[in-house]
Symmetry: C2
Subunit: 182 residues, 2 copies
């Protein structure tokens, strides 16, 4: 099996886009870091924008299937099933090169300058909210609470960039417990 150039490019690009940002990461850097020739990059992706879109789309699908798998495992477990994504935040925030939520970072950088990219970020968040909505519904909680859980989830990722994530996660977990069990 030959080295899958396309995947390697997307891996490198995703890491750099996430860590350093989209505008700050040049094509040359992705080329140098991945070791793939620039010609090859432009044979696989029509432009930097196309690469960004491909990276975000793949990342979104990865997150979705991971969350869905976990939700599958915890089906019927009530509160535990709702809390699971928040418990995972501990690990996410502790990762090397952690830099918040990739989709929020993309939304911020391309809010008004690149509608397709911004739309992709919005779609990811939409999916997240609907996912939480369904989870809450299936476990017998008020599904409208998805409108609280989503900001809280994103807020923890956001605050953990500049502060200790541990107390934020801890307070969020106990708050969710208190709110849903009434």
């Amino acid at each position: 099996m030959p080295a899958p150039r396309r995947e390697l490019l997307m891996d490198t690009a995703e890491q750099l886009f996430y860590r350093d940002g989209f505008h700050a990461t040049g094509i040359d850097r992705i080329q140098a870091e991945s070791g793939v020739a620039k010609t090859t990059l432009y044979k696989h992706f029509a432009s930097k924008d196309a690469l960004i879109l491909a990276v975000l789309e793949r990342a979104s699908m990865r997150v979705r299937s991971s969350l869905q798998q976990q939700a599958q495992r915890l089906r019927g477990k009530g509160l535990e099933r709702i809390l699971a994504p928040f418990e995972d935040l501990q690990g996410v925030c502790g990762e090397d090169d952690f830099n918040g939520c990739l989709f929020n970072n993309a939304a911020a950088e391309f809010m008004y300058s690149n509608p397709p990219i911004h739309a992709l970020a919005r779609e990811h968040m939409d999916w997240m909210r609907q996912f939480l909505h369904q989870l809450l519904e299936e476990e017998g909680f008020d599904p409208q609470q998805a409108w609280l859980l989503l900001p809280l989830y994103e807020g923890v990722l956001t605050v953990a960039r500049v502060q200790d994530s541990e107390p934020a996660i801890k307070q969020s977990l106990t708050a969710i417990r208190a709110l849903l069990q009434t």
Copy 2:
């Protein structure tokens, strides 16, 4: 009173940095939009980094004094005093060129590439958390809830970039009410 060039530059820069991002906003654009000559810009600010720092510092002070003034007005009003900053989010999220939280955007773009800017964003968040901590304490609530309120506040700003802010704010307000009144 002559047009204060320095303030005009910072006004223009802040608007562009906020709307389009820091890396995406060039000096030339700030120059053109403000009408101030580039020579003058570099007479007031040693570099783009220095301009960014000045803009963030000024914005942080503006936010702080605004929140403190409001807190002063609502002294002793209990829950209402805690909720006030969250109620203001309605207006903030509806503004033209709204793009989340300026300090989080800065933290994301400069997380690993520019420690001074990242530190300034961290200091702003630190202040916010301590401010909420003090508010909670003064009104007789558990001050540790600041570790919940801060992510929630930032999360609403973050989610409102790609979704309707109204239900997020509404759910947050009722959640805070429910959590603190126990």
